[in-house]
Symmetry: C2
Subunit: 252 residues, 2 copies
C-alpha cells in the first residue's frame, strides 16, 4: 500500500487494510466492510473512546455473563477478524462456548472462521456444519439457524455486531441478549437486555477486564449490579453524548 | 444471495450487494466499502433524505459549475459505481471533463473505471495513464497526481466522496471545490467552497436538475445565487438536523 504515514487518518486506514485482508482470507464478506464503516461513523460521534455509559454497560454485562447458567458467545466474520483472540480468551474465562453465526452464510466460511479461532486457541467451535440447524423463529436471514448445543440452549448470548432481526428473535425466545453495537439507535441496541455502545476492539477487552474483577463476587452482588443497570436510560445518555459532540460543531 | 425480502433492510442490503459486485469488477477497492458504510450512518442521521440545506447547497453548486471557466468532475471508484451514468450526463450538460482520481491508485483500476464510464457514454476520461502526473502539493496520497489538462487547470472541481487532504490542497491551489460528503464534520465538508451533505445517489441527479433549471440564467443571477450561499451556516443547519434526529431518540 501507498498511504503515507503523514496522512491524518493513517491509523484508521491501517485498520481498514487489515479488514480488507480478512475479506481476502474468506473470514469476512465484502458487505461486512460496509457494516464496519457504519460503526466507524458512530464511533467518531463518540470521540472514538469508551464512554462512561459504555463502561457501566460493560460492568453489568460481565455480571450477567458470570451469573448465567449457560452463556454463549456468538461470533460473525467481523468479530473474528477484529477480536478473535480476545473472544477465545473470554470464552475460556467464562467456560462459555463460541458459536459461529453468519448473516452471509456458507459452509466454507463457517469452516474458515472455526479454523481461524482454533488457531487462536479455541478448543471447540459450535455452529459450523450440519448439526447447527436448529431454527429460531422470526429471523429473515440464514442467522435463524443455530446450534442446539450452543445458542439453542443458551440462557444468555453475547452478540457483537448483530443484526436487529436476530437480537429481537433471541429476546423473544426468552434469552438475555448482550449486544455490542456502536449505533445506539439500532434495533439491536434498542431490544438487547444490555447494550454496549462501544467499538468491539475496546468492548471485548473491557469485558475481560470487568469479568476478571467480578469473578469472585457472590451471586447476590452480581444480581445487584445487574438490577441497578437501566439499559434504556443508559442508551439515552449515550445518544446525548453524541448530541453534545455534534453541538460543538454547530456553533456559528 | 439468501436475504429474504421480508428483511427490514432489504433495500439497503441490495445496494450493498451491488457495491460488492463493483469490487469484484475492479471498479471499487474493498476500502471503498468501508467509506460507503461511514456515509450510510450519516445518511441515517439525516433520515435518508435530501434536507432543505442540501437542496440550497445543490442550487449554489449548480450555479458555480455553470459560472465556471473550466469545471472538472473528479471521479473515484465509489462515485463511478454509484452514479457513473449521472456523472457522464452532468459532464455532457456542462461540457466539463471527467477525471479519474483514486486514493488507492493502480493503472489497472484507472483503466477499468475509464472503460466503464466510456461504456456509459463518456467520450474522454482524463487522469488515466502517464499524462496524469502533475503533482498538487500537500497531499499525502496518490491523489496528489492530477491531469494537467483536467484538474491541473480547472478553476472549479466537483469532488464527490473525497478525502479531506486533497479537498484542502485543491482549495489552497486556488480552485473552488464542490464537495459531496454525507459527513458534515469531515475536513472535506469543512474546507469546501460548497458542501453538499447528501447521498451521492440523490445529490448528482439533484445537480443535473438544478443545472437544467439554471442553464439559461444570466451570469449576474448565477453570481447572486452563489454570493447568497453561506457554506458555514448551511453546515451548521445540517448538523442541527442530525441533533434533532438524535434528540427524538433520547427522551426517557
Amino acid at each position: 500500500m501507498n498511504i503515507s504515514r503523514a496522512h491524518p487518518r493513517f491509523l484508521s486506514l491501517s485498520i481498514r487494510e487489515r479488514l480488507a485482508n480478512a475479506v481476502k482470507d474468506g473470514i469476512m464478506v465484502p458487505q461486512g466492510l460496509i457494516a464496519h464503516g457504519r460503526g466507524e461513523a458512530f464511533d467518531y460521534l463518540l470521540g472514538e473512546k469508551t464512554t462512561v455509559a459504555a463502561s457501566k454497560a460493560t460492568l453489568a454485562a460481565a455480571a450477567l455473563l458470570l451469573k448465567a447458567e449457560f452463556p454463549v458467545l456468538s461470533v460473525n466474520g467481523n468479530t473474528a477478524a477484529l477480536v478473535g483472540r480476545e473472544i477465545v480468551r473470554l470464552s475460556q474465562m467464562l467456560s462459555a462456548p463460541i458459536e459461529v453465526n453468519l448473516f452471509h452464510r456458507t459452509r466454507q466460511r463457517e469452516r474458515v472462521i472455526a479454523q481461524y479461532l482454533k488457531r487462536l486457541g479455541a478448543r471447540e467451535i459450535l455452529g459450523a456444519g450440519e448439526e447447527a440447524r436448529m431454527t429460531i423463529r422470526g429471523i429473515a436471514s440464514p442467522r435463524r439457524e443455530t446450534d442446539p448445543r450452543g445458542i439453542g440452549r443458551a440462557d444468555t448470548v453475547l452478540v457483537p455486531l448483530e443484526d436487529g432481526d436476530r437480537a429481537e428473535a433471541l429476546q423473544r425466545a426468552g434469552k438475555k441478549v448482550i449486544a455490542i453495537d456502536l449505533n445506539p439507535l439500532s434495533r439491536t441496541s434498542q431490544v438487547a437486555t444490555i447494550s454496549l455502545v462501544d467499538n468491539v476492539v475496546r468492548a471485548v477487552p473491557g469485558l475481560i477486564k470487568a469479568a476478571t474483577g467480578l469473578r469472585n463476587f457472590p451471586r447476590g452482588k452480581l444480581l445487584t449490579i445487574i438490577e441497578n443497570f437501566d439499559n434504556e436510560k443508559n442508551l439515552a445518555i449515550t445518544i446525548r453524548e453524541m448530541i453534545g459532540y455534534l453541538r460543538g460543531w454547530a456553533t456559528d
